[in-house]
Symmetry: C2
Subunit: 367 residues, 2 copies
Amino acid sequence: MSTFDISYRVTVQEGENIDEKIEGICLEQSVELPRSVLSEEVETKVVGKLSSKEQLDNSQYDISISWPVKNVGDDISQFLNILYGNISMQPGIRIADVEWKQLPETLFGGPSFGIEKLRELYGVKDRALSGTSLKPLGTDGHGIGELCYQFAAGGLDVIKDDHGITNQSYAPFEERVSYCVQGIREAAEETGHRAYYFAHITALASEAVERYKIAAELGADGVLICPHIAGMETMHQLARMDLPLPIIAHPAFSGGLTTNDKQGLTPDFLYGQLWRALGADFLVYPNTGGRFSFSIEECQAINEGARNERLPFKSSFPMPGGGLKRSNIPKWLETYGPDTVFLLGTSLYEHPDGPRAAAKELSGMLK
Amino acid sequence: MSTFDISYRVTVQEGENIDEKIEGICLEQSVELPRSVLSEEVETKVVGKLSSKEQLDNSQYDISISWPVKNVGDDISQFLNILYGNISMQPGIRIADVEWKQLPETLFGGPSFGIEKLRELYGVKDRALSGTSLKPLGTDGHGIGELCYQFAAGGLDVIKDDHGITNQSYAPFEERVSYCVQGIREAAEETGHRAYYFAHITALASEAVERYKIAAELGADGVLICPHIAGMETMHQLARMDLPLPIIAHPAFSGGLTTNDKQGLTPDFLYGQLWRALGADFLVYPNTGGRFSFSIEECQAINEGARNERLPFKSSFPMPGGGLKRSNIPKWLETYGPDTVFLLGTSLYEHPDGPRAAAKELSGMLK
């Protein structure tokens, strides 16, 4: 029987027994019934089976459970359900890893571009990339487009809408995207530097698909989506569109899954691996030391998940953001290496000489 | 300027100042920039404003922030982003309430049926309803249909697919739904008791819409969906379909949002209020004392959120499940009252005389 492994870090609570807890996961995430009422056939072909167990300390264990591939069918939704459906409501269970190679190739497609192809496309051989967000919400389409022009003319590589800017009356979607595309083109003509603009398309899934098509038609270079708002499978659907654009994934609404160290999904599993499997070419995550809360080890593990060759998918560009400063870029470049997109917001907006000068300074640091 | 209020319970961490933390939320969930770089116009029309603040103890505060309705536009996704986008990655912020009446009527539709209309439809005046899940995964469509017949003939009211059963080769979707509809009809002919079958349709959003239509065509009485897997807005889209079927919402994958008492969304806000706003007629939640972890107060608050008239939507039927036992039903009936659907699984499957007898015993307790 074809199976795939999920690895968990399990913390037993007071009064809990590790073996009962494991047995609970094996049943909860498959049949949701005790063994006493199962037929032998169902018990054999459906229930999860412990494949490894290692004790870390008094209360923590690293375990793996093998799941029948047939329980998933051809359905990413059902994969997510087996991964972390009902056990999301039980304490002390954290998802750490999946043996992706054991899953059918047809289930997850990974990024449609990946680091190598993006480097070719952008003509950027081995340096790190610079990025920023167009904001604030409340600015009109013309103003956002002008800002896009300034950042592009200053030499930034990746310029994306802020994830809070969707289709508000302040700056309706099509108008904003048109102005930004125009800004990129004008900057390229004037300076010879080509920047890449990513339009934010998070919406109801069917609407996100429509906005993806419109963004492509209007000449955007890629899209930005919040998979935990629009639906994780929606991102996979977008990555499999006929007219592929690179996708940036943004972590809004995902914190409940990653910020509790005894529950949820490890940040490197969610942002580095699952998003990559679901088709994100760029992975935005909150860098350590900024307004958010991950450790340097967690951030490095996300980078590793995004880039490593163990996964049967193209690689993704990690895109740390949320409090990065121009002055710290040399340090982060040394720490994270060139296969990184550095996403700066406030630090560019605060530059005394304006966005173009800020972009010039940042891109100079990465050359 | 038209605004709506969100209430938060905020826990300050060591070294944090409450006023700075509030200022952080007001900026993070709107402009994502410091005030120093904002124009006066943007600052006035876009940034959130503190509307109330109460200190609870040394580290906890209940606060409310007013948000411009214009920041939402006509988009539930952007509402979710303002509600809990980036702050999901910061510690100590929990969403407790929303002033729904301050939002445009066109944004959220609420349940298309609600308790009153469902009671009319089902001809059940004022008693509580009984419910169960068809399982285990691994059973073929014929077997699931037979089980559905047995539970219906025994007198259960609401019979739903298990949320782990989707479209596996064990029991493909259409075949399973057809057998279940047949089971319900046969039982009604034989016994005069009409039960209601809910088909599980969680999938990629576009596929969920297709399965909804197929379920309706095949004669299912309603659908079951996991909004945190298929997308929360997908549920709202389903509730607004031309051919309305009642919707049961299931909490799989939602635990990361509700089980940390200093972060996320309170269970009564998420399951009782937000799901109701998004169109769920029945709200499945993990009852206290079972395999999951909510307190009795949290469960009662979910019931209150589902039923209370403060919300400008039809009411929803709370559907506690996850470890309810036949023997405890009288106690729970007294505690939760008649506007409740009691969802039993294992306790019915373990009945020594089989599902029909189990259903008869349970429905007898509710008459």
